[in-house]
């Protein structure tokens, strides 16, 4: 198999995939589940339950009529004991439904279809939305939206993203090995919905066994003409949506655009599995595979965890900690978010939870030393940015310069900070610059809109006056 890759930029990281060979183990449902009402990118959900209500597994807890949104479901059966703001893995407090487990494990009625022939693309999209499926790679973008491209956009390729390039994480790898059928089915569903000609499963070349397994499954099903398995070079951030598209198809998603602008949809393999389960089993997204790893957790491994399980429960169930826990990271070490409490719950976008002790401070020193202009950040940026210059501009509060240096095109992969010998917080500052620019743009757009409105109103009045005359 040919190995694809993008250029320039990126770097090879220590893989640290200790849990590579650990088969998925289901954790027990938690005694109390904390389910945030917003677990996706988009409009917030309004609660549909009250305190004291009894819910079953799969009961809808909240939803929203907004187009970009996904409902959330109860992941355990029991009683709603609180609806209040709770700390979420994003670091913000989010309205959450707290359910006390009755350990009856009762499910709501779930029904799937037996074959794809029975169901129309529109019904598939609706079902996927109803089941609350979002991208499981981390961004948690509602899948139903991705599957409804605007009229006129033709999608020719669907890429299944199995290039799990973050260190430590092995969730996607295990999904490909243990749920290869579901992954392929999920891809078939997407191809049907999007009327795309071709599906591509991209796997990093450090996971050749998964690629071969998938290839064999595809051959068995006689799908070789429809679905292709390709290897991509093991390099961070190979699994980034934009990098993957460039590596495999040679296309570049335009700045501030989406993959669908170049006729592509990229979907994480875990999401494909969830889609397949939603369509064929009718199962809403109530649990997901998570890699539990790090230096201070006793039994690292891959676990199927119910959405809403607090980290403290997970620690207990997997056997506790060896040493003092100093850093708790949701997601991979490159892009993940450090947590301030062990009470945060697992959400739909949680692909891994990493536990580190004191060594976290040598892994990522806080202290910055002066920039020596070594140009490593420039050489390694997968987007072709000049991180050092954006960083300087941000420190001087020069938003205009940051903007002209294309700060908004940053994919926040963390490579610049990783390679920096002076240990400067480049990614963090570029991220902040990016946010400040976007905020300023929003303010300006709002100002402009208000101004236009005022002018329109004045003109209207003027017209009315003239009519009055």
């Amino acid at each position: 198999m040919k190995v694809f890759t993008y250029s320039p930029g990126g770097t090879h990281l220590e893989e640290e995939k200790w849990t590579k060979d650990k088969v998925f183990v289901s954790l027990q449902p938690p005694s109390v589940a904390v389910i945030p009402l917003v677990q996706h990118t988009g409009a917030p959900n309004t609660p549909l339950v009250k305190i004291g209500d009894n819910v079953k597994i799969g009961s809808i807890l909240g939803s929203s009529p907004a187009p970009i949104s996904a409902p959330v479901h109860a992941s355990i059966s029991g009683q709603v004991i609180a609806i209040e703001d709770r700390l979420c893995p994003t670091g913000a407090k989010v309205q959450s439904v707290v359910i006390k487990n009755d350990f009856k494990d009762e499910w709501v009625n779930c029904e799937g279809v037996a074959s794809l022939e029975e169901i129309s693309p529109e019904e598939i999209v609706k079902k996927i939305r109803d089941c609350g499926i979002v991208g499981l790679g981390g961004a948690a973008f509602p899948t139903s939206v991705k599957l409804s491209p605007p009229v006129g956009k033709v999608i020719d390729t669907v890429i299944a993203n199995g290039a799990e390039c973050e260190p430590y994480l092995t969730t996607d790898y295990r999904v490909m090995l243990e749920y290869s059928d579901q992954v392929i089915n999920g891809l078939l569903i997407e191809l049907k919905v999007l009327k795309a000609k071709k599906g591509v499963i991209a796997v990093e070349d450090n996971k050749v066994d998964a690629a071969e397994l998938l290839l064999n499954a595809i051959r068995e099903k006689n799908l070789e003409n429809l679905i292709e398995v390709v290897l991509v070079k093991t390099k961070y951030p190979q699994g980034g949506e934009k990098q993957l598209i460039k590596a495999i198809l040679g296309r570049e998603v335009p700045s501030e655009g989406l993959p669908l602008d170049v006729g592509v949809v990229v979907q994480n393999v875990g999401t494909l599995k969830a889609i397949s389960e939603a369509i064929f089993e009718g199962k809403p997204l109530i649990d997901r595979g998570i890699t539990i790893s790090g230096t201070v957790i006793k039994n690292p491994g891959n676990y199927i965890v119910r959405i809403g399980t607090p980290v403290s429960e997970i620690i207990e169930q997997v056997g506790g900690l060896n040493r003092r826990l100093r850093k708790l990271i949701f997601g991979g070490p490159m892009t993940g978010v450090a947590q301030s409490s062990i009470e945060v719950p697992v959400v739909k976008g949680t692909s891994g939870i990493l536990f580190f002790g004191e060594e976290a401070f040598t892994m990522a020193p806080e202290e910055e030393t002066p920039c020596i202009r070594c140009s490593r950040c420039v050489d390694h940026c997968p987007t072709g940015l000049m991180p050092v210059l954006i960083d300087h501009a941000y420190r001087r509060n020069d938003l205009k310069l940051s903007e002209s240096l294309n700060a908004v095109d940053c994919i926040e992969c963390g490579v610049c900070s990783y390679v920096c010998p002076a240990k400067r917080h480049l990614t963090d500052n570029i991220k902040k610059a990016k946010q400040a620019i976007l905020k300023q743009r929003r303010i300006e757009a709002a100002k402009k809109a208000a101004f236009e409105k005022l002018r329109a109103k004045k003109e209207q009045e003027k017209a009315q006056k003239e009519v009055g005359k």
């Binding site: 002066p370 300087h392 420190r395 001087r396």
Partner: protein, 199 residues
């Protein structure tokens, strides 16, 4: 001197005034605006163009006055300074008025630098250099182009470095004009590498 030698001579004048004996770094003319403007890229570009234009025109005017009026009437040593500065001053004034009336855009781009130029010792200096070396008209024009280009080169190089130094932890002692002089010192040092290239 045949034509070929003359051309070589012109090339030497040009290279000498623009690079080897750079008007700013080696001959120290036009320092006020060189240092003053060197913290802004856009105004240095504007100033560079304005200086090139005015220097060339003034040199022609000054040459004409020198050779057609002052030398024939034997008044060079007495009236040269006065007439040169008057000519340049009024020329700059006229250009300003003309630009404002005819092309507002150009005036906007160049106009704000014109009053600064009138007192820029580079322009007057070049006319004196031409006269001291007894350059003919073509040589004077080449000297003027070379010298003003040399000014532009030095200014733009300094602007580039100062723009970069905004992000550096320059000691308070040297912040501002002082560091511009220190950078110029090293630039002048580097330009010494060309010294003596032309006898």
């Amino acid at each position: 001197m045949n034509f070929g030698e003359y051309l070589v001579d012109l090339a030497k004048i040009f290279v000498s005034s623009s690079i080897i004996n750079n008007i700013v770094l080696i001959q120290f003319l036009g320092l006020c605006s060189y240092i003053g403007l060197s913290d802004s890229m856009s105004s240095s570009i504007g100033m560079s163009f304005a200086v090139i234009f005015v220097t060339v025109c003034s040199s022609i005017l000054a040459w004409v006055i020198d050779h057609w009026i002052l030398i024939p009437s034997n008044l060079q040593s007495v009236l040269q300074i006065t007439s040169f500065i008057l000519v340049i001053g009024s020329f700059v004034g006229l250009v300003q008025i003309y630009l404002r009336k005819t092309s507002p855009n150009l005036h906007k781009a160049m106009g704000i630098y014109l009053p600064l130029i009138a007192t820029n010792c580079l322009i007057l200096g070049v006319t004196f250099i031409n006269s001291m070396n007894n350059y003919d008209l073509v040589q004077s024009i080449v000297e003027a182009i070379g010298a003003s280009l040399g000014y532009a080169i030095a200014l733009l190089l300094l602007v580039g470095i100062r723009e970069r130094l905004r992000d550096s932890d320059v000691p308070t002692f040297f912040k501002g004009k002082a560091i511009a002089f220190m950078v110029s010192a090293i630039m002048a040092l580097a330009f010494l590498g060309f010294q003596g290239m032309i006898r």
